[in-house]
Amino acid sequence: MRKRLLWVLAFAALTLLLGACSGDLPQNTFDPAGPTAQKQKDLLMPVLWVAAAVFVLVEGGIVLIALKYRHRKGGDDRLPPQVHGNTRLEIGWTIAPAVVLAFVMVPTVGMIWELAERPADAMHITVKGYQWWWGFEYTDPDMVVSYGQGGPIVVADTMVVPAGRTVDLSIESAGGLVGGDDPDFRVAHSFWAPRLFGKQDAMPGRTNHIVFAADEPGTYWGQCAEFCGLQHARMRFRIVALDEADWRAWVENEKQPAVEPTDPLAKQGMDLFLNGVSGGGQCTACHSVGGTNATSPAGPNLTHFAAPEHECFAGCNWDTTDVEALRAWLHDPPGVKYGSKMPNYNLTDDEIDALTAYLLSLT
């Protein structure tokens, strides 16, 4: 009975492991898409095999002992031999695990140092964790915008990188006053894109680093992994890796200020965005749009909100192409993302139409 059950359990465990290696799992750590995640997986695999061997030996041993020495009905009721111990065995099973662990730890220690190296030729992006979304600043000198003070390219929710290029991320916690008495605090976050790299925390007051590259163009999912308050669960992001040509085009577009809309509805939306909505709310209190007088750094930068690489918005919970989701968001942000720092400005349907048109014109 017990044996069969354990076999069932072992089989179930194996199926689980196999299951993890297949199917469409956008955050699967066993499906690396870059050298950093690959190294982290390669380091783990032999350890898992050793663990599996130990598991089989120990659990199998327990099951065998339990079967062999179980008391049978009508069996010998005399006491078994009273063995008190065996020092050689004790020393043996103290040393044996130590040897196994030594074999595990040598490559581990090497890899700790290897992953801590920061190559000089990497491109640099500063990652900032806010409550509850990620912002990205391209700090290399060739990544400055052509308008305003000529600061770095700033985007939110999707981090765009050139495929194959090594990127050195500086991970920080950020925050600022959003809407009066509801401050957006600097709290700890953790930046994690499982298929590309393991996580590092965004600790207030310090800067941590992740060095990674995406082997192929594509979209890679990630999210905040350190509990950071109410909407920790919905603090997501994506990394979009582009081939060299697309990358150059993206950079050129990002350097430009936002396009002035020509469509009258979008124009009306721009007016609402820059000058306030009917309830008195000011979008510009938190958001910036390059080339306009909206320059607040508190919320996501919307300069190229509708660029195709900017796949998602509001903590990367909805696709930018999902107009209904965008309308629902503008209608009542804390209603669809509980506790969101973006207030409900009680927009009218007409205002939502206009603002949606404006946002979607920002390619």
Binding site: A12, A13, L16, L17, D24, L25, Q27, N28, T29, Q40, K41, L43, V47, A51, F55, V58, I65, A66, Y69, R70, R78, L79, P80, P81, Q82, V83, H84, N86, L89, E90, W93, T94, P97, A98, L101, M105, T108, I112, A116, R186, V187, A188, P194, G198, K199, Q200, D201, M203, P204, G205, R206, N208, A225, E226, F227, G229, L230, H232, A233, Y338
Partner: protein, 622 residues
């Protein structure tokens, strides 16, 4: 026959209560057995509450974008689940076992400081109630049991202030209890019971008390700083004003990792008693089991930063703590091998206590193996803060600690209540629980490696992990069912008349079984003289001509040499009101910190009155 004497009244200004039976006697008792029962019942109620919280979590995560709870509720519930299970169930349930059994196992009549023992219990339950009162006073703690600042400081709800104060109060309880039990074990063992004739359960108890005594001050410092940051705007954890949030992480985990061993070593002690009894063999390698427990205690203080590998401590620290994390697996492995060797060649009887003990070993092995993978630091960057970790520590703390505690409940139930639990129901309980447990927590390995973060109120459908979450949720309700079976079994046992056919139902090895079931208030008529480990067993068995032990016929046992002469007066501590009075001051001070300095003053007065009453009451009842 010994009699309970009434020595001449001592000096004092206030009378002591005398009742040792009846409802009110439970509030004044200083009897370690009654206090053990109070701990056990209270912590089991908290277990049920924490379990309901777990079921709510699993109901919410049954499907993507779950709507059972909103984020605010979810964060409170997962925080309270962790706090409840750690501080209000496993710790006090272990304290229940320690309180009840240690004096009986070392041949003492009570703990060293009986009134301090009562004080510990009342501080624990009042601390727990204080923590839970937050639900009605503006919201429960919502920053996780780990309470990381700045989030735990800046969060606008009142919950994390309750967290800091509540844990400070239960910390008082645990500290007092730790000192009390450590002194008891060191000073009050029966004649002849050298430390290496002490049962392994008592040894693990000793290690745990030292772990508590050394680790609780660390979290206390952290909690005070957190409280001051929240309540009086200090800047211990505010980097803008020169503080550092990572300081909390060090303080918390320097407590928090020994805490893991505080939670699991009692269960290790329990199964180290049960496996030999049900194998009908002595524990294999007694001294190695004891020393590995001590080693775990020491090394347990040197691994804390493996909870912080992704915090950016740098490669030197990560290397050091990676290696120490691997090393702690060694003494843990030694224990596993010794339990296996104890069973090897034995005459194994799979009663419920044995089933739960073997369950503890097999499940803990899984948790231990996944624990070793955390020492592989670069891959831990992937695993930390995911469900892989949730899987790992539930295999350690549920598979290890809670299975072990259930083993202990089945084993000592007849000792404590004079009634047997139903064996058949016990086996049903075990099999439902172990299957439900593996269905709940096994898939969490996959969830974590597949990219699901912990402490996440929900997850998107696109994550591709809905199926595993559903298996896990179904499993969790099986665990709930198993606990129900246990509750029915427990209640049913009380419907049968008290009294055992055999006062030694398991053919046990240690001297608590030389007393009646339940034991008399004074435990032992005569304090036994100890001549070996497994003293009681050696009194029952002699060695035959072939060198095999055979049972000595009843009544033929050689007369035991006793510590004292025949019939003499037994001094038992008298009940007291004052520990309860003193502890009532603690939550009042807590509410005062939240609401008013006047309440702080009132609470301090109550506490002082309690302590003075305690100091000045006569030494015995008049």
């Amino acid at each position: 026959m010994a009699s309970v004497s009434v020595p001449a009244p001592g000096g004092g200004i206030l009378r002591r209560p005398t009742a040792t039976t009846g409802f009110w006697s439970w509030f004044t008792t200083v009897d370690h057995k009654k206090i053990g029962l109070l701990y056990g019942v209270t912590s089991f109620v908290f277990f049920l509450i924490g379990g309901l919280e777990a079921l709510l979590i699993r109901a919410q995560l049954y499907q993507p974008n779950g709507t059972v709870l909103n984020e605010a509720q979810y964060n409170q519930i997962f925080t309270m689940h962790g706090l409840t299970m750690v501080f209000l169930f496993v710790m006090p349930m272990s304290a229940a076992f320690f309180n009840y059994l240690i004096p009986l196992m070392i041949g003492a009549r009570d703990v060293a400081f009986p009134r301090l023992n009562a004080f510990s219990f009342w501080a624990f339950i009042l601390g727990g109630l204080f923590l839970y009162s937050s639900w009605f006073l503006g919201g429960a703690p919502n920053g996780g049991w780990f309470g990381y600042p700045p989030n735990s400081v800046t969060d606008p709800s009142i919950g994390m202030t309750f967290y800091a104060l509540g844990l400070l109060i239960t910390g008082v309880a645990s500290t007092a209890g730790a000192v009390n039990l450590a002194v008891t074990i060191i000073n009050m063992r029966a004649p002849g019971m050298s430390l290496f004739r002490t049962p392994v359960f008592v040894w693990m108890g000793l290690v745990v008390q030292f772990l508590l005594a050394f680790s609780l001050p660390i979290i206390t410092v952290g909690l005070f700083q957190l409280l001051f940051d929240r309540r009086w705007d200090t800047a211990f954890y505010d980097p803008v004003r020169g503080g550092d949030p990572i300081l909390w992480q060090h303080l918390f985990w320097l407590f928090g990792h020994p805490e893991v061993y505080i939670l699991v070593l009692p269960a290790f002690g329990i199964i180290s008693e049960i496996i030999p009894v049900f194998s009908r063999k002595p524990l294999f390698g007694y001294q190695f089991v004891v020393f590995s427990g001590i080693a775990i205690g020491f090394i347990g203080f040197g691994v804390w930063a493996h909870h912080m590998f992704a915090a950016g401590l740098g490669p030197v620290a990560n290397t050091a703590f990676g290696v120490s994390t691997a090393i702690i697996a060694i003494p843990t492995g030694v224990k596993i091998f010794n339990w296996m060797a104890t069973m090897y060649g034995g005459d194994l009887r799979f009663g419920s206590p044995m089933l739960f003990s073997v369950g503890t070993v097999t499940m803990f092995v899984i948790g231990g193996l996944s624990g070793v993978t955390h020492s592989v630091v670069p891959s831990d960057y992937q695993q930390t803060d995911t469900y892989y970790i949730v899987a790992h520590f539930h295999y350690v703390l549920f598979g290890g600690a809670i299975f072990g505690l259930f083993a202990g409940m089945y084993f000592w139930w007849p000792k404590v209540f004079g009634r047997m639990l139903n064996e058949r129901a016990g086996k049903i309980h075990f099999w439902i629980m172990i299957v439900g447990f593996n269905l709940t927590f096994g898939p969490m390995h996959v969830l974590g490696l597949g990219g699901m973060i912990r402490r996440s109120a929900t997850y998107p459908e696109g994550l591709g992990l809905t199926g595993w979450n559903q298996i896990s949720s179904v499993g969790s309700f099986m665990i709930g069912l198993a606990v129900l079976v246990f509750i029915v079994n427990a209640i049913a046992s009380f419907r049968r008349p008290k009294g055992l056919e055999n006062e030694d139902p398991w053919d046990a090895r240690t001297i608590e079984w030389t007393t009646s079931c339940p034991p008399p208030e004074h435990n032992f008529d005569e304090i036994p003289v100890i001549t070996s480990v497994d003293e009681f067993w050696h009194r029952k068995y002699a060695v035959d001509k072939e060198g095999r032990p055979v049972r000595v016929p009843a009544g033929a046992a050689p007369a035991q040499e006793e510590a004292h002469g025949p019939a003499h007066a037994i001094h038992l501590p008298s009940p007291s009101y004052w520990p309860l009075v003193a502890t009532i001051g603690l939550p009042i001070i807590g509410y005062g910190v939240l609401y008013s300095w006047w309440l702080v003053g009132a609470g301090a007065v109550v506490l002082l009155v309690g302590l003075y009453g305690w100091a000045l009451e006569p030494s015995v009842a008049e």
